[in-house]
């Protein structure tokens, strides 16, 4: 059986590993138009700091598996599901029995009147990061559009390099989808201490830009004038579904609709990672969630399903949003629902160490958590959110983050009874 995987991101790697571990004799071909090796996308900000870390951010793949697969460095132009072939750029054809689409996502393009769209740099691949690094050498006033996780991660890198940027955020506060207002203010304070300037609630209107000197001024609707010589955008991502759409595969919520075993609407065609929309059994809708652990888990499930070795292990944990990130040595975790008027909030604060731990409850169930400064037991909270644990009172060790030496498997019923 010949399996072809499109994409060498997280989902592609985990699909490949799952196939090779279960059935080592399966013929696996990986097609990618990104760098022809495996590296970690979230780590590419390290490339801005030092371009020679490309080796460091490479992901370890066992040598015997690496020898056994075929890696094609080429763009896929079209999927022909009737004949089971891929048409590659350059006219070559690649037959397949099973296809895994792990095409990932592309950064959202930002349009500002007065600046050509290719002058606004985005960050997704190693090549993008190296391009930013090259432009940054001549830049003194970088401006970042977007106050989400991507925007702040770039801002963090630039501030550490000694070129603190200005960040233009259209919503009234930072990380409006990840954090609640109190912790967002804490993070904002942290960035401002390190020299980053924020323009909150500022929608870019137009810009004066000189192509020769690459300098310009950005005008916002509030009337701010922001000088810049480098524009970077971190406004989130869009799933790349052009190939699937051409092949007639069902698209939902912007991504490729998949079942619990990652199969698309076409038989023998699977999808995983940022390009896939996974069915949420709670809401009855397909949801696209572009985060690393979902990509890794869905990639593994797709790989196991392709070779028929999928052991059903309950429902997929994708529906819960979660993220962990460290800014200026302050770790931060956000899990589940963190905003809403009907939420009951349990808070633990320690101002001297800049610790805020919040656990959100709705109808007695834990639905979300925000941990800043001390992230102990974040995983226990994630599991509680996943199992919708009913809690009368949050145990003190969970709220305060004291280490718990528990021997029992913490089944949530035992933990929270």
């Amino acid at each position: 059986m010949r399996v072809v995987i499109i994409g060498n991101g997280t989902a592609g790697i985990h699909a490949m590993l799952a196939i090779k571990r279960n059935t080592p004799k399966t013929d696996v071909t990986l097609v990618t138009h990104d760098e022809p090796f495996f590296y970690s996308r979230p780590e590419i900000t390290q490339l801005i700091e030092d371009p020679y870390t490309l080796k460091v951010i490479a992901l370890p793949v066992p040598g015997e598996i690496l020898k056994d697969i075929t890696l094609i460095h080429q763009t896929v132009e079209e999927i022909e599901p009737k004949t089971g072939t891929l048409r590659l750029a350059g006219g070559a054809r690649l037959p397949y029995d099973r296809l895994i689409l792990a095409t990932g996502a592309a950064p959202k393009k930002v349009k500002i009147i007065g600046v050509p769209s290719d002058a606004i740099l985005t960050m997704r691949t190693a090549r993008d990061a190296l391009r930013i690094a090259a432009h940054l050498e001549e830049s003194d006033a970088p401006v970042i559009l977007g106050g989400g996780l991507i925007g702040l991660k770039i801002a963090h890198t630039l501030a550490r390099l000694g070129k603190p940027p200005r960040v233009v955020v259209s919503s009234p506060r930072l990380l409006s989808r990840t954090l609640d207002s109190e912790t967002a203010a804490t993070i904002q304070e942290l960035f401002e201490e390190n020299g980053v300037t924020f323009h909150l609630g500022a929608t870019p209107k137009y810009a004066d830009w000189d192509e020769r000197t690459r300098k310009g001024t950005l005008f916002t609707e509030k009337g701010d004038k922001i000088p810049f010589d480098l524009l970077l955008a971190g406004k989130g991502v869009n799933p790349r579904v052009e190939l699937a759409r051409q092949a007639g595969i069902l698209i939902e919520d912007g991504g490729i609709a998949v079942t619990d075993s990652m199969e698309t609407s076409l038989k023998h065609h699977y999808a995983a990672g940022d390009c896939a929309s996974i069915f949420n059994h709670e809401t009855g809708r397909y949801e696209n969630r572009a985060i690393w652990p979902v990509a890794a888990e869905s990639g593994r499930i797709a790989g196991e399903a392709v070779v028929g070795k999928l052991i059903s292990s309950g429902r997929f944990s994708a529906p819960i949003a979660r993220n962990a990130i460290t800014f200026f040595s302050v770790p931060m975790v956000s899990i589940g629902t963190v905003q809403g008027e009907s939420l009951k909030t349990n808070v633990y604060r320690e101002a001297s160490r800049r610790i805020v731990r919040k656990i959100f409850q709705e109808n007695g169930r834990i639905v979300g958590a925000v941990l800043v400064g001390d992230i102990m037991h974040a995983g226990v909270l994630f599991e509680a959110v996943r199992q919708e644990a009913r809690v009368r009172q949050i145990p003190g060790w969970l709220l305060r983050g004291a280490p718990q030496f528990s021997q029992q498997t913490p089944s949530m019923e035992v933990l929270f009874s």
Binding site: H14, R21, S40, P42, E43, Q46, V56, I57, A58, L59, P60, W292, P293, A296, E297, R300, R322, N323, A324, I325, T326, S329, P331, V333, I335, I375, M376, H377, A378, G379, V380, F382, E383, W397, A402, P403, Q404, F405, S406, Q407, T409, P410
Partner: protein
């Protein structure tokens, strides 16, 4: 797959040989002499957190269950967490860890712990390079047992049977697991 089992009745409180062995095993030269002779001497861990944990529980290494598939490994951004395919133990390669703490946010047992100063996550790796974990090798009273769960359950049953017949069980009382 063999696991570490803890028998609380056999544990000698205050012995802490398992902890020392764990530290020694994870040092580069596998010995405690150099850190002990080197200055400064480690501080006493008399923080409220430490007191709290000691008062309620014996410290013991049964935190990581080495899940299959391990969620921490799947969530690791840098590829530093690795599951050893032959013995099934999960370990963290600290030189590659970038301290994103995705693993901390995904371990349902709270077994992966963030270190505040070094910005890496640490966990019990079951000494995946050796035949048996260092804590088990160091335990003087047999409170830590390294075996598979079936064998351990059998041993426990034998102990309970002895107790029911009101015969003194061989050396030690039955264990709760």
């Amino acid at each position: 797959m063999r696991e570490i089992f803890f028998v609380p009745e056999r544990c000698l409180p205050g012995c802490n040989a398992c902890q020392m062995a764990c530290v020694a095993e994870h040092l580069k030269n596998k010995g405690l002499l150099s850190p002990l002779s080197g200055l400064p001497f480690p501080k006493k861990r008399q923080t409220p957190l430490y007191k709290h944990s000691v008062r309620r529980f014996f410290p013991h290494p049964l935190r990581c269950l080495h899940c299959d598939p391990p969620r921490c490994v799947e969530s690791c951004l840098s590829g530093s967490l690795i599951k050893n395919e032959t013995n099934g133990r999960v370990g963290n390669n600290l030189e590659q860890c970038i301290g994103c703490f995705m693993c901390v946010a995904h371990c349902p047992y709270g077994a992966v712990i963030p270190t505040p100063a070094e910005h890496v996550s640490i966990k019990c790796d079951g000494c995946l390079w050796s035949k048996a974990p260092a804590c088990v090798r160091a335990c003087p009273s047999g409170a830590l047992v390294f075996t598979d769960s079936e064998t351990h359950a059998e041993t426990l049953e034998t102990q309970i049977r002895f107790k029911k017949r009101k015969i003194q069980p061989p050396r030690l009382s039955p264990a709760r697991v």
